[in-house]
Amino acid sequence: MDISIQDVTKTYGDKLALPPFSATLKEGEIVCLLGQSGCGKTTLLRLLLGLETPTAGTITGLPSRISAVFQEDRLCPAFSAVTNVSLALGRRVAKPQILALLKSLELGDALKKPVRELSGGMQRRVSIARSLLCPADLYVMDEPFKGLDEDTRKTVMDAVLDRTRGKTLLVVTHDPEEAGYLGGRIIRM
């Protein structure tokens, strides 16, 4: 089902966080959101994730299963990468699958370490793995490749494309090259 965003705005008091915005995300489509800082990209994602309600406008067609990579990693720092991923998935995904994806994202040496001991880039990959393993119809990712080095970024982007095939993928990015690599439709805010 397509997701329709109609004249959605969000204000916090007097502050306009998201000016009127409309778009349609087709089912199974890859969409990259580009725009300057502060233009409301993250706010739009928060609205799609149900973390905020729009001040005006409507969002229809949202699937019940949505997965996310937040702008921050949002990992439980005391627990390992495996525990962090398992926490979000419950029993929906078997442990070998979790281990396989983490290893494919070059996290094989860091599976059992508390994530607070991992580098920023490694934590980012754990956050992405958590999102990719979560069965969903819409994947929402807020600057997911931020902080990754050039080689790792390509590996991770390939994993994202592979794991979200056939599902709707909405990626916020500042980098037109990233948008080009992902190969989807670009919306400028």
Partner: protein
């Protein structure tokens, strides 16, 4: 000059001698066990109940509102008033458990509630988006965040439980307790007994605090290392 008046202030060596004498009396260990078991029981009940109610109050603010008058009363009313009031409906032998419970509960409850309230909102949003059940959020998101709050609360509350528990035993003159020994030493001007028992209370209190905090730390480490 005061050291020349053993009735008022006993030289430290005399206290040590008396302490050694006490330890060798069979009654000493019975007395110690009597007070220890009751005070620690009061602490344990308060710890469990305060953790449960603190977490539930964090989830349901109505419960916090309902508990607030009780918590504020326990916090502000002098412990001596509670001890004397409690003697109307509790036997002196059980008093130290109740008073220890009463003094510990608000300290741990307030800290747990504060910990729950200040839990990382971003992690809670993550839990919401991934539809993590509340029980798992409690164990993986709230509990690690509560760790410093629990350590700080227990560190304060363990000392309080001993101070208030022994005070209850003294006022209630609980037969077979450390409090009774303190009371007797006051009545018979046995200052060396008073100081020796005080040393015992301090030692047991400190040792139990260290042991409890060590056990709690180990439990957290094992949980996080899973």
């Amino acid at each position: 000059m005061l050291l020349d008046l053993p009735l008022l202030l006993v030289p430290p060596l005399e206290v040590v001698k008396r302490l050694w004498g006490l330890v060798r009396e069979s009654d000493f260990w019975r007395t110690l066990l009597f007070s220890f078991s009751r005070i620690v029981l009061g602490f344990a009940i308060a710890f469990v109940l305060a953790c449960v109610l603190g977490v539930l109050s964090g989830k349901w603010p109505l419960l916090e509102t309902l508990l607030w008058p009780y918590v504020i009363t326990i916090k502000t009313v002098p412990v001596a008033s509670f001890i004397i009031l409690s003697l109307f409906f509790l036997s002196a032998r059980r008093l130290s458990t109740f008073i220890s419970f009463l003094m510990v509960f608000p300290v741990i409850y307030s800290n747990v509630l504060e910990g729950i309230r200040s839990t990382d909102k971003e992690l809670l949003e993550m839990g919401q988006v991934f539809r993590i059940p509340w029980g798992r959020r409690l164990l993986y998101i709230y509990l690690p965040h509560l760790k410093p709050f629990l350590f700080s609360a227990c560190s304060v509350a363990l000392g309080m439980s001993w101070k208030s528990g022994v005070a209850a035993e003294v006022i209630g003159v609980a037969s077979g307790s450390i409090g009774e020994k303190l009371y007797e030493s006051k009545i018979y001007f046995m200052t060396e007994d008073l100081l020796a028992w005080t040393v015992v209370i301090v030692l047991v209190s400190v040792l139990f605090e260290k042991l409890f905090l060590r056990l709690m730390r180990t439990a957290f480490d094992l949980w996080e290392a899973q």
